[in-house]
């Protein structure tokens, strides 16, 4: 029996991955990552998410050892790995294009790393077959990568990582080359695999749906900086800034520039011709901003056909519905609000990301007229609200989000 590998597996390996002030500047001067600090726990499934250019892949590649760290430190377990070669970091990686060796069979691909580590033949064979079994690719072991479908290649890439029995898996957009249906299926398979193996996974994606459905914790990055690191619920309920608020959730949060107004002791928020009265609790958090501008965020599910509204209150928006998309389980209503759109670096980054066609269900915003903002609402499937009519929609004012117009940061509720 291989003493080396066995010993390594017997002693508990702490695979917490800790980034402290990590930065990456390329020789040409571009700074891809600046000052990212993250502590991922052993066995955790962490997703790094952000639009393209956010530096998420660079962070992953620095953890893998494929990019040199130009500032800060990376620890895996209790070892600073800045100067450790990728091979010695005890990690396995699944590449976006799978990076299967075309000249080797599936078996050869999976066995390659073990062969290099001089693991005995029977041990290699056992591990490869186990992993193949787990991924149900046993019948493919003799094939070459070019004889495989996209989904099969993806599994082989996973298998190649699994046989390593590494302390952590690194995955760089492993699903982006699969078609939509296969992607959803593989997504749940990876989650199941994680539950079964209990090995840490660091997973990079640009798709926030993928991120929130799979992750224990999500790290949102933008322009090389960490925006927020927390559970999917945290990100959804307590986004730290406009960027995270707009990035997480689908359809995206409605954002509009508004003003806090006080009348007869009642505090309201007004934008365009609309005014929403605030509950005393919410009003208190805005106490020092009366008469000032704030950015208002409303999640689409917090706007509802009054007939079906599950929340109390009589806050209403009277709007002209442009389009209703019937998705069966819900109806997405699109309308415009006559208030200036939110223009900050954050929202512009979001808009740019939208234009690049980041995926996810109907996030398509209708082009708004100048000084109008496109809004979406998720209505009850049996709602009779229809396009071309002006109607009143109920708003759950207890779930409004407010952000500072200058910094974009959330105003705590």
């Amino acid at each position: 029996m291989p003493s080396g590998t066995l010993a390594a597996r017997e002693e508990p390996r702490l695979a917490e991955i800790v980034l402290e002030g990590v930065g990456k500047a390329f020789p040409d001067g571009t700074v891809a990552v600046r000052d990212v600090s993250l502590a991922m726990e052993d066995g955790e499934f962490v997703v790094l998410v952000g639009p393209s250019g956010s530096g998420k892949s660079t962070v992953l590649r620095m953890i893998a050892g494929l990019e040199e760290v130009t500032s800060g430190t990376i620890r895996i377990g209790d070892r600073v790995v800045n100067d450790v070669s990728p091979a010695a970091r005890d990690i396995a990686m699944v590449f976006q294009n799978y990076a299967l060796y075309p000249h080797m069979t599936v078996y050869g691909n999976m066995a390659f790393a073990l062969k290099l580590r001089k693991v005995p033949k029977d041990e290699i064979d056992r591990r490869v077959r186990e992993a193949a079994e787990l991924l149900s690719i046993t019948e493919l072991l003799r094939r070459k990568p070019r004889q495989l479908s996209g989904g099969q290649r993806q599994r082989v890439a996973m298998g190649r990582a699994i046989v390593r029995e590494p302390a952590a898996f690194l995955m760089d957009e492993p699903l982006s080359n699969l078609d939509a249906k296969l992607r959803v299926q593989t997504r749940s398979e990876i989650s199941r695999l994680h539950q079964r193996l209990g090995t840490s996974i660091v997973y990079v994606t640009h798709d926030q749906v993928e991120a929130v459905t799979m992750a224990d914790r999500v790290a949102v990055l933008r322009e090389g900086m960490l925006q927020q690191f927390g559970t999917p619920d945290d990100l959804y309920e307590k986004p730290v800034n406009v960027f995270v608020a707009g990035f997480i959730g689908s359809p995206a949060m409605n954002l509009v520039a508004s003003r806090v107004v006080a009348e007869d002791g009642d505090v309201a928020v007004s934008f365009g011709s609309h005014q929403l009265e605030l509950s005393p609790a919410v009003a208190r958090s805005l106490a020092d901003r009366q008469g000032k501008e704030v950015l208002l965020g409303i999640r689409p599910e917090d706007i509802e056909d009054p007939e079906f509204a599950a929340f109390d209150g009589n806050a209403r928006l009277e709007v002209a519905i442009d389009l209703v998309e019937n998705l069966g389980a819900e109806r997405i209503a699109h309308f415009e609000v006559d208030a200036p759109p939110v223009r900050t670096r954050d929202t512009e980054a979001l808009a740019a990301d939208l234009e690049r066609g980041s995926e996810g269900p109907t996030n398509a915003r209708l082009v708004a007229r100048p000084d109008h903002v496109a809004f979406t609402a998720r209505l009850h499937p049996r709602s009779l609200v229809s396009a071309g009519h002006t109607t009143k929609l109920a708003v759950d004012v207890s779930r409004l989000y407010f952000f500072d117009p200058d910094t974009g940061e959330a105003i705590p509720r």
Binding site: A64, G65, L66, S85, P86, A87, I91, A92, M93, F95, Q96, N97, A99, L100, Y101, P102, H103, F112, A113, L116, R117, R160, R164
Partner: protein, 289 residues
């Protein structure tokens, strides 16, 4: 403008794209056949003349067909022994040149292929610019120096000279080959635990094997055919191309044709094997840079 002249067709014309007009269609096969004949005629001539009896080739109207072929000239050349020296020299030099060229060019081409695009492009252009210099501009100086250190009439000297022409060319071909090998394969290998050298030997070179083989054949061909450096660096022991030249200068037509056939036949084989790689598509990438 022509829209009025040509009435709109109901059937999409796409399928007729490559069909030629009627008169052309009739003449086309003849044209193809004649071109093919013109291309093949010289080969036929070499072989025909090499087996033609002496009488068949003289007079103002030499025969195009040999009715009584003879292997006399082949026998003569083989028995005289004058063929073996040049044949050996050409074979050894071509083979050595090929091996050394691959050993020197392949690693360097790999490095070039991994340079940032702008620098890579400059380097490749630089390699090709060395071709703009007449071989003589290099050869004269090289030959004078080689004469001083005794590398004239020497296998090594000729190998060194042939490498001058071969290296830039195959480096260029190999850069193209290595560029097609995705970098993430190397990264995967490094994560799997391979060293830089291990990655090169176990992943990159095996994947480039076909391209390297093609490049090797090209080098072999080049060296086997090379005349100019051989001329400058030879006083006694001829290579095959020099031997052909000698026969042109002094020999009979049949001798000339026979040696030419010896020189040509192996190459036709090489080209036959290469033709799969001489697809126009392979060149398209080179043009577009």
């Amino acid at each position: 403008m022509t829209a009025t002249a040509a009435p709109p067709r109901l059937v999409p014309p796409a399928k007729h794209r490559d069909r030629l007009d009627r008169p052309l269609q009739v003449l086309f096969p003849f044209w193809v056949a004649v071109s093919a004949l013109i291309v093949l005629f010289p080969i036929y001539l070499v072989i025909m003349v090499s087996v033609a009896p002496g009488s068949a080739l003289f007079g103002e109207r030499p025969d195009l067909l040999v009715t009584d072929p003879t292997l006399d000239h082949w026998r003569q050349i083989i028995e005289s022994g004058s063929l073996w020296g040049p044949l050996t020299k050409s074979l050894v030099v071509a083979t050595l040149t090929t091996i050394v060229a691959i050993v020197i060019a392949a690693p360097a081409a790999y490095v070039i292929s991994r340079l940032p695009a702008g620098i890579r492009y400059t380097v490749v252009i630089g390699l090709l610019v060395t071709r703009m210099f007449p071989e003589f501009a290099i050869g004269i100086s090289v030959a004078t120096r080689f004469a001083r250190v005794g590398l004239v009439d020497d296998y090594l000297g000729l190998v060194l000279a042939h490498l001058i022409g071969a290296l830039p060319f195959i480096t260029w071909i190999l850069v193209g080959t290595f560029e097609t090998i995705p970098r993430d394969l190397e990264e995967a290998a490094r994560i799997d635990g391979a060293s830089r050298m291990g990655t090169l030997l176990r992943v990159v070179f095996p994947l480039a094997a076909a391209g390297i083989a093609v490049a090797a054949l090209f080098v072999w061909l080049y060296s086997w055919n090379e005349f100019l450096y051989a001329r400058l660096l030879t006083t006694n022991q001829n290579t095959l191309p020099l031997e052909v030249f000698r026969a042109i200068d002094r020999g009979s037509r049949q001798q000339m044709a026979t040696i030419a056939a010896v020189l040509t036949l192996p190459i036709l084989l090489v080209v036959y094997f290469l033709q799969r790689h001489l697809r126009p598509g392979a060149l398209a990438g080179a043009v577009k840079g």
